[in-house]
Amino acid sequence: MKRIKLEEVSRQFSLIPAKPVMQLGAGLFALLLLSTANSGEDQAKVEPAKQAESSESKPQSDSPSLFKSIGNFFSGTAKSKDAGDKADSSPPATTASGGFNIIDIDSWSNLSNVVLDPVCKQPIQPFGITDNVTSLGLLAAKLKVKGFVDGLSKNGQPPLAVKDIIKLAARNLNWMPMDFEKQIGESKVPEAEVLDENKNKDIKKTYAQAREILADILKNVPEDNPYEFKIIVIKSSYGNATALPGGIILVDKDLFKKGTPPEYPYFIIAHEVSHVLQRHQTRAYQARLADGIDSIDNFRKLLGDTSHANPGAILGYASAFKNMVVNYSEQQELQADSCAIRFMKTKYPDQKMILEKMVKVEQKLGPITPAIPDDSKDPALLKQLQFLGDGVLERHPNTKQRKDNFQVTIKAIYI
């Protein structure tokens, strides 16, 4: 299997290669800023609860131009760009070179459950502690500079305290140890559903076809990654696939069913590989831990305070929980679609060609069904609680959302 180094990946994904020395220097500079800022912690304090309320879960990306320049300087380019632009054609801020996999977080949220890179400018999330620390350093430095600039202009929020910056940064990176991630993946393999490769010719062929596609996709992934990608064909006949943390891809036995266009299984496996590389499953666990603990604690306090225990307040929390878990799951699916298109780009570099291929994928997604009017007379609160009571912790975007996202991503990559 031909594999390439990180620098080649940078080129294939239109990333700007940066010198490792610059990366390290930026990281150290960032950490230095962080440590010097620590002494002034008291005067920089803000109320974290108010901050969380005001920003909700929306990514913050309205950075001043100086801030943008500094952020891009860290990532190895002085080119200014809009940090929150979903459909940008400029090179992403990701820097990946010479064994480092550091990301330059150019938008962030006070919650973990927000996908900050919807069109997948950064196909591979940091997985090593060094990468995470350096990425954290970059983010912390940017936040300190932003606070400083805001303070000077008197327009923005008061600067964050260092402890809040660290908390915020921790919510925007995946800190789950990779070994833990692999263990989760192995434990989730449904033993009773696994099909033995030698069961019959059809199953053998399905394994071979899925592995061929996986190998092709992995040519775009640097070989010095900690994942152990492998295909397992399972008994399900949903024309579907599933990614488990650590690199296990479960493929339904009928994914390559007669009449299925070859682009479809390719896209699906690329989508699943993207879930792994984005560390979506563990990130979701982390989000539930990081955001859930605060939310549950506040919810408990709210219920304890009889003066505030009203249905409206409870509804607010129910909505927040729903947003936290269900909508986050949808965002991750759309991001994995975008990453899959980036993988397909390396196979079909011509825009016209990829548009043709994606039409075939879209046709397999099923029809766009009309929006169903919500004619229920149930009180909103009851509906929300019923929804939570379903135990549905993940939901997929509908065909229209997926198609719209394809268009946005293709525009971002090719135009």
């Binding site: 009773a192 008994k235 399900s236 006949s237 599933t242 879930h275 069904t369």
Partner: protein, 219 residues
């Protein structure tokens, strides 16, 4: 020398006996649920080799594992899987009929179900949906395949299934008939049925039985 030979023969016989037991029986499994443990003990009393010709203990063990699987969400799927009770993959039919049990999505508010025969493109005419009862698709033919779309107020599901070929249907029927003649507890018989379907790749039928067992036995 003679003593050694006897010892070797005895050891070999013991090993062969153990291997035969492994091939023909499922050892009892411990469980937190008393009902499940009791079912496991009943299952362990049976001998697969003498019950249904060609059925292996491995299939029984697999089905047992599937029964205990909580179906908890694990991993990130490309699409939401079809709800329990909706046919997918290779399907065994009784009297050329296939059941669509929509009870798993009844809370979501079923808006509509469309089934299409893949070869002819013909839309199958469906009987009106009666709450709490499965919807039967009649006059299916061996080897034909169908696609369906189920729309609820919450989600759009889709899937496809194909009726097993006539030879397969016949082979499965023969095994089920053989099983039917055996004297064993009803729940154990259901596990055997599920194993027959598992071996024949009729996983929809297998899962329907396991769902029944789960609902009644709460393993």
């Amino acid at each position: 020398m003679k003593k050694n030979l006897t010892l070797t023969l005895l050891t070999m016989a013991a090993c062969m006996g153990s291997a035969m037991a492994e091939d023909c029986q499922v050892p009892p499994q411990k469980s937190n649920s008393a009902r499940t443990e009791s079912l496991s003990k009943e299952l362990a009393k049976t001998n697969v080799c003498k019950t249904v010709k060609g059925l292996s203990a491995k299939s029984l063990k697999t089905v047992w594992l599937a029964l205990l699987d909580t179906k908890a969400t694990g991993g990130k799927r490309f699409e939401t899987p079809p709800p329990a009770g909706t046919p997918t993959g290779k399907v065994f039919t009784i009297a050329d009929k296939v059941a669509f049990d929509l009870s798993a999505v009844s809370q979501e508010g079923v808006v509509g179900l469309t089934i299409k025969a893949d070869e002819s493109g013909q839309i199958i005419k469906l009987p009106p949906l009666v709450a709490g009862r499965p919807m039967w698709i009649e006059n299916t033919k061996p080897g034909t395949s169908y696609s369906w779309i189920l729309v609820t107020k919450k989600e759009t599901y889709r899937g496809s299934f194909e009726i097993a070929e006539a030879d397969d249907l016949q082979a499965i029927k023969a095994k089920l008939t053989e099983l039917d003649q055996q004297d064993m507890p009803a729940d154990v018989k259901l596990i055997y049925q599920a194993a027959i379907f598992d071996e024949a790749d009729c996983y929809f039928n297998r899962d329907s039985i396991l769902d029944t067992l789960r609902n009644t036995k709460n393993p």
